[in-house]
Amino acid sequence: MEKKFLILQKNTQDKMREKATTLYIGPQHPGITGNMMVKVQVEGDTIVRARTEVGYLHRAFEKLQERRNWLQSFTLLCRFCVPEPDPVEESYARAVELLEGREVPERAKYIRVLMLELARMGSYMLWYGGQSGSLGLYTIGQWTVGDRNYILDLFEELTGGRVYHMYIWPGGVRRDLPEGFADKVLRTMDYFEKRLKDYDDLMFENTIFQKRTQGVGVIPKEKAVEWGVVGPVLRGCGIKSDIRIDDPYEVYDKLDFIVPTHEGGDIWSRALVRRQEIRQSIRIIRQVIENMPSGEYYNRIPNPFKWTLPKGDAYARTEATRGEVAMYIVSDGSIHPRRTHFRGAAYVHGITLLEKILIGENVADISAIMNSLGVCPPEIER
């Protein structure tokens, strides 16, 4: 850590910049986690200054939502962050329900948790690929992304879409579980429990992987919360923080699971936290299927073209794989949202945090650090 702050100090004197080479990582670069750019100044192999440039994916969703009604704007949501769209839908649905005071049936709550945890697993499978691929271990990525298809199959059967589900919507969920779906989920979970061991053998017990990740991209524990670190990255610093426990939503307070933490704050501890969270997800999914009540799954909303929400605002937070995502909605009493705002974890991780922790690191680790922070550009610029 001391090395980092020394470099920071020197950095303020403009001396260093003359010797440094500027390197543009992105937007067209295989190592970048999406369509963004990191402009780094390097001296030898060490980064002395980093700047991110975003905006390549700006579609002005928040503006477009002002032109749609409350249900139409819901369809835009899943495009906010593509690898894991369900937490965004959940946030929006819950914010609307908070504002309107709409009750959600108990069964819908369970189905939502099932959906969220499946999405978490799917997203982590993709993360496996990104994290190991950025370090040159492509075999893991091929296995996990291939296995992720089994989760996407479940989504497809349940919602009709592989990637964009539009399933968790205000008032409940869009349709009930199909017949025999629970068994399929359980079978898939069995399969994943078996496969996780293979991934461990190849990735976490690999000496080179440990050497590449331990002590790289360290976030200081005492600064972590202040810098806006959330989710698995914060838990990788050894701080127990999870919205599922702290600010419980749906039925998470009735479920039995633990929040894994790991000291260190480097890529390795973040990877371990994520690895353990997959296990917890499987556990949650089993509990949900066991305890799922029968009954209604949807509290019908009125005609969406006449559906108005009371004046006011609401804010709902959800724990996604990247950390805290949240939806802030403001209603002026009309059928359109006055303003919606999406708070993504990558908005903080991908800009200020990334610029801070890249300093003093090796050029070779940029991609690995970005993957371990879960930087998702569409979430930054929306």
């Binding site: 700047r51 975003v54 905006g55 700006h58 002005a60 928040e62 503006k63 477009l64 002002e66 032109r67 908070l98 919360v225 202040e226 810098w227 806006g228 959330v230 923080s241 702290d246 600010d247 605002d313 804010y315 937070r317 805290e324 949240a326 802030y328 403001v330 006055r338 303003r339 705002h341 708070r343 908005y347 903080v348 800009i351 200020t352 945090l353 801070k356 610029e381």
Partner: protein, 190 residues
């Protein structure tokens, strides 16, 4: 429990910031304070350093076109007390000026850059590149209510004219490329 905690927080804030108007009728863990623009840095500092609201959850801007004001909303969260506080203030819409706050939370720098670009809020003392998301943007700040995105899009970009009729064109496409439509697909034709 939650109610007592809320009362305590409200009292402390009221004692320190006379202009804070509170709203406390939420039945979940939320409190709402509206303050003057000048109080924002000090109340955020106070919340963060003295009261344990160390996590900045969100900051955003709402355009109230009819009232001629921009509303800034800061949402802070206390991991210890498990409660979130909304701090709001209003800026004059024609001349929106706010102070730079990124010494409180470094990530506010990003939020301020977005306010500046999307709402035209002038942030005094902000050190950041001029452009954040947009590049070479020449129109008005796009997230303001009076900016009409549909008209702008129609004016600027090509649009592909849609089909007038609603006929099934899959056969035509298939014939064009010499492909067979599988049997299972035929039954879905409109």
């Amino acid at each position: 429990m939650m109610k007592e905690l809320k009362e305590k927080i409200v009292q402390r804030i009221k004692a320190n910031f006379a202009d804070a108007a509170e709203k406390n009728d939420f039945n979940y863990n939320r409190l709402d304070f509206t303050v003057k623009k000048e109080t924002i840095p000090s109340i955020l500092f106070y919340l963060k350093d003295e009261m344990g609201f160390i996590h900045l959850s969100d900051a955003n801007c709402v355009d109230w076109l009819e009232e001629g004001e921009l509303e800034l909303v800061f949402i802070v969260w206390s991991p210890k007390d498990k409660i979130k506080i909304f701090v709001r203030t209003r800026l004059d819409r024609d001349n929106p000026v706010m102070d730079n706050l990124d010494m409180i939370w470094p990530q506010l720098n990003t939020y301020e850059r977005e306010f500046r670009e999307m709402f035209g809020v002038q942030v005094t003392g902000l050190e950041a590149p001029d452009e954040f998301i947009l590049e070479d943007w020449q129109g008005p700040p796009p997230f303001r209510r009076d900016f009409d995105t549909a008209a702008y899009a129609e004016k600027t970009f090509w649009e592909r004219p849609g089909r007038e009729d609603a006929q099934d064109v899959r056969e035509t496409i298939a014939n064009r490329d010499g492909e067979e439509i599988p049997d299972f697909a035929k039954k879905y034709s409109r």
